[in-house]
Symmetry: C2
Subunit: 351 residues, 2 copies
């Protein structure tokens, strides 16, 4: 797993910007280091940044710093993945009305560790559901970005499904799109699958359509950063084209995500905030400069896109598989975990 | 223009692998340097590699080397763009039956220079036809890879249309996809448009769909490496997804190419050979290594894809605009220039 709570009250996380070249673990007792790690994508992936934010709150309480201030800073790091706010809200609820510093600290540690453990368990359940959903003929799976161990508390969402299918002897190979600009597919997904000895072929993002058209892809599985009530899915930039191309070629398009990724307070994906990151990520290939800006030339860097639910075959959650119409299926499977909604009405768990 | 025939019997070409950082011109009197430049993409773009091959044959004759040997080597450099074979065949026809070395050399120079001049003139005509085809509302044009001055004898095909539209005061701005793996969009298209002061925004390839869905693209224009008789278009990898996404979003998808790009001897795009280039281009970002191969991980690097003609709104040639059904319109507009066909039957020009 890419993050750990250490018994001495510190957090240790893997700096994902240095993979696959170096495995550097960073230890900190300062929540600001966590916030900066989320901003810089040293720690990334919707479920993982929620977990990291929970640990950040525990660090703040341990250092005797105001938890509300830490919550505000952590919440501001990235706008699109709802898991971040979901985890922060859940931790704050756990200390609602608590004044005593030691109790606050212990409750926050307990809640953050629970969020982490529950995420790993959820991913295994997602893997089981997803592996059953894939047909025996689904031998070659395309995935985008990294929705693996490195994006979660462990095991992964999309890669969790791939791992479970592979463990069942069903899956032959993975096509991993490199995922410009930050290359999470080339750097992280290939690294993870290599360690599991799951055959993986890396291609440039724009080659995916051609592989689909030639019949070399049996299914597409991606993670998600936020899912609206109608099933619209915000995920890494480049997800929407894959969904359109999959439908055009008669290939199922699956989204694998814990129910904490559902934001049932949003009617559609049009309301999901899309993070605009620095154009530097586009204009530079890591260290090397590739676009000369100025003189009429600029660059833009939206980090996510929204895939309308009509392109989504199914959404695989830890509570089961949601199929269209998503308004109903997501409400049934995800209402319990949906941040704002659960917070306001405390509806009992269903399903 | 990116290549020149020098009066002293040499060829000078711009090394496009070094752009936009350095403008390095290479002078040579050895056709093998031209062949290697085509292979390494120092000289690239379907029309330009045809022109370069013509000059290569003239260099071989000037050095007293067998022209047929040079033709074989030049023809073998890259398989997809038909302009290469078309230009070589045309030059060989020009010296058919000629024995005298000096006459052979002079005829080859004349033919290569003609091919070059005709290409520039064709691109201006393509620009005029294309600019008329664009509606006054087509304010934001997306283009992929580089189909500009740098890909042709001068002016460009897709960028020729953009230049003509811009000169008519019709075009506001260009969205340029960076075009992984070799970044011809980010490096070359941005560089060209910057010199012409045409506003250009560089995005990663996988962001194009999202821009189309949000209504920020009015038309897509690309070049082509080979067009089959039915209108199927082979072009830079990533073209097919753009065509599918354009149709899905109700955006016209135009191909701009000289008639020498049509290969009417092929019934459909399924017969077009697709170059597989080294996976190194994917696994390394220029100098930096980004994918760790081995242990189940490999990479693939198809350089082109085929866009079925049903996604193509129109093909803009120097002889006019071909619209569906393409079997008829291409036959009418391109039969004259189609290499194998013209060579076998010498049909008179039409249209």
């Amino acid at each position: 797993m890419p993050i750990k709570w250490l018994p001495e009250g510190k957090v240790s996380f893997l700096d994902q910007t240095l993979l696959p070249h170096e495995e550097v673990w960073i230890e900190t007792s300062d929540y600001r280091v966590i916030a900066e790690a989320i901003r810089r994508l040293q720690v990334r992936g919707a479920p993982l940044i929620g977990i990291a934010a929970g640990y950040g709150l525990a660090l703040a309480a341990g250092a005797g710093e105001p938890v509300e201030t830490a919550a505000k800073e952590l919440r501001s790091t990235r706008p699109t993945a709802v898991n971040l706010s979901w985890a922060i809200d859940r931790c704050l609820r756990a200390v609602d009305g608590v004044e005593e510093p030691r109790e606050m600290r212990e409750r926050l540690i307990k809640e953050a560790v629970s969020i982490h453990k529950e995420d790993v368990a959820a991913n295994h359940r997602i893997g089981d559901y997803g592996a059953k959903l894939l047909s025996a003929d689904d031998q070659s799976i395309l995935t985008h970005c990294n929705a693996g161990t490195l994006a979660t508390g462990g095991y992964g969402t999309a890669l969790g499904v791939i791992r479970s299918a592979s463990a069942n002897g069903r899956l032959c190979s993975v096509i991993a799109t490199e995922t410009r600009p930050l290359l999470q597919g080339a750097r992280l997904t290939a690294w993870e699958l290599s360690r599991d000895r799951i055959p993986c072929t890396v291609i440039v993002d724009s080659a995916a359509g051609s592989y689909m058209r030639r019949g070399e892809i049996d299914a597409v599985i991606v993670g998600a950063d936020r899912i609206a009530a109608n099933g619209d899915v915000a995920n890494k930039i480049g997800t929407y084209p894959l969904a359109v191309l999959a439908r055009e070629n008669g290939i199922p398009f699956y989204v694998a995500a814990p129910s904490s990724t559902a934001d049932l307070s949003l009617a559609s994906g049009d309301d999901i905030p899309i993070e605009q990151r620095s154009p530097d990520e586009v204009t530079s290939l890591r260290s090397e400069h590739i676009v000369t800006l100025g003189l009429a030339v600029q660059a833009e860097n939206p980090a996510f896109d929204v895939t309308p639910s009509r392109y989504v075959t199914a959404i695989i959650t830890e509570n089961g598989v949601a199929k269209p119409p998503f308004e109903e299926s997501l409400e049934r499977l995800c209402a319990r975990s949906s941040g704002p909604q659960a917070r306001e009405s405390e509806v009992p768990a269903r399903g």
